[in-house]
Structure formats: structure tokens, C-alpha cells
Amino acid sequence: MRAKIYIRYKDGILDPQGTTVGHALNSMGYDAIHDVSVGKFIEMNFNDVTKEEAERLTDESCRKLLSNPNTESYKFEIVED
């Protein structure tokens, strides 16, 4: 069982990295792209746990360590391999 976690800046938080990447894409000619945001993707594996337990552990990990609730939001999915 694995968790796939996506962390990004909340709307309204300055994301200079995303802005810079967006400018680079635009200067390459990709005019249709805008509002680029750069975040984090984290994957973690579990020992024998139920899906509900994996969800609980992932949510707790996100709240306590993996994201900063002041500036970042997270979402995740649990994948059963």
C-alpha cells in the first residue's frame, strides 16, 4: 500500500518559483499556459495496514510534518499495489 501526496502553496501565497517557471514557458512560446504553481510530490509505503489506517496515517503525517498549514494545502490518494 502506498500514499501519493501532493502539496502546493495555498492560493494567494506568493509562489516565485511557479511564477518564474511560468515566465520561462511563456518565453518558450507556450502562450496558452498560465498560473504555474510548483509544489511537492511525496510517496510513502506502508507495512500491513488497512486502507483506512493508511489514510489516517497519511493525513496525520501531512498535518504534523509534511505540509505547513499556514501556507500549504495537501491532498493524497492511497494506492493498493
Binding site: Y9, I13, L14, D15, P16, Q17, T20, K40, L65, L66, N68, N70, T71
Partner: protein, 219 residues
């Protein structure tokens, strides 16, 4: 008076701070490895700058869970003076001792330069010997020093006189030009600029020394 300097893997301003307290001010000071589980008989706790845990995940996020941080939090809640500089400020914010967040500088660059600070509040053990509005010259060296908080939090910091220092010319995009803040009880200070690197005139400025002197002499 005995000071403790917390050392994490990746701390790199610990020896500068030690030098200021031991050699310049001739006071007792110990390095405390982050795995230590107790902090007793210290009057001043300093969380130094550097790149604890390589800034992995977010600056300060992993150091916050080192065993010693429970002790730092306990001491701070008892009223002992705690000061975090640069990465130390980031760690104190991650640990919840100070509000807000420190995010990437608005121009994405690592900034290493001399700047001018203004003393915004003299109502603390760290700043009571200054004059309000006094200019202090010292360096900054950070990539994630852009202070961010909700407007409510920034207003509360302003209303409660918890802003210690502001930038004369904002280098990193910090809300309210904030360079350093206190906790509500005013015994915890976090600041991005480096007073320990401006403690002797041979370094170009000795304006930072007075912050250390103030803590030690007003204890």
C-alpha cells in the same frame, strides 16, 4: 548567566554565536547537541543559523522534531529568553513558538548582503537598550526569509507591539517589512538578520552585539 547554543546537523552559525558570547562578552556558554533530552540551568537559549537537515522539506521543519526542541519549548514557556537567528527563526516558527511562516524570497534568490534594520519595539529584554527607530547594520543570508502570515496575525503582531525589527529596504518581500518578531510573552525573539555576524567592528559592524549584551545584562 549561562547560555546554550543548540546544534543541529547542518547548523553553521553556531560557532559564530559561541564566539560572541564566550570571547567577546566573556560569558559561559555550551553547545547542546540536538539529540540531548534536557536543558537545565540555562538562562539564554540560542537557536543558531545554518541549514539544519539540509533545509529538506521546508527550512526548520525537521529540526523542529529533534528531541531538544521539546526542552526549548518548555524553557520558552517558563519565560527563559530564547532567540532564533535565521534558520533558528525558521525552526522557532515551525515549532509553534512564533507565528507565521517564512517562505521563499520574492525574487527566488539566496540573498547574502548587508542591510539596515530599524528597531520597531524596545519592549523586550532583547531590545530595551535601543531607541525605537534606531538603525542597525548587519548581514542577511537566506533564501526563505519572506515573512508571511494572515492579515489578522500581522495586525495582531503590530497591535501588540510584537514586531522587533523591520527592514529599512525590504529585501525579500516580507509582509510589513518584518525582519524579526517576539512571542506574546516577549521572551522569544526570532529574526532573519545575523547579529552574531555583526558583533565586532572588524566585521564591518558591531550593531548586533547590543542584542546579546541586552539579554545578558538585563537578565
Amino acid at each position: 548567566m549561562r547560555a546554550a547554543i543548540i546544534v543541529f546537523p547542518g547548523s553553521n552559525c553556531d560557532h559564530d554565536a559561541y564566539y560572541v558570547i564566550r570571547k567577546v562578552l566573556n560569558k559561559d556558554v555550551d553547545f547542546i547537541w540536538h539529540k540531548e533530552g534536557s536543558l537545565t540551568n540555562y538562562d539564554f537559549i540560542l537557536v543558531p543559523g545554518g541549514f539544519s537537515y539540509g533545509d529538506y522539506l521546508r527550512a526548520g521543519a525537521i529540526a523542529r522534531f529533534s528531541p531538544i526542541m521539546e526542552e526549548v519549548i518548555r524553557c520558552a514557556n517558563k519565560g527563559i529568553s530564547v532567540m532564533g537567528i535565521c534558520n533558528g527563526f525558521q525552526i522557532l516558527i515551525e515549532s509553534g513558538l512564533l507565528p507565521g511562516a517564512l517562505i521563499n524570497n520574492k525574487n527566488v534568490k539566496f540573498l547574502s548582503q548587508n542591510i539596515t534594520l530599524k528597531v520597531a519595539s524596545t519592549n523586550s529584554i532583547f531590545t530595551q537598550d535601543f531607541k525605537k527607530g534606531q538603525n542597525l547594520d548587519m548581514p542577511i543570508a537566506h533564501r526563505q526569509g519572506n515573512f508571511f502570515a494572515s492579515e489578522d496575525v500581522v495586525k495582531k503582531l503590530q497591535d501588540d507591539d510584537q514586531i522587533a525589527f523591520i527592514y529599512d529596504e525590504n529585501p525579500n518581500g516580507s509582509m510589513g517589512d518584518i525582519a524579526g518578531i517576539f512571542n506574546e510573552n516577549r521572551n522569544v525573539l526570532g529574526m532573519m538578520p545575523h547579529p552574531e555576524r555583526a558583533a565586532e567592528s572588524i566585521l564591518g559592524s558591531s550593531d548586533g552585539l547590543a542584542i546579546f549584551e541586552s539579554v545578558i545584562e538585563n537578565m
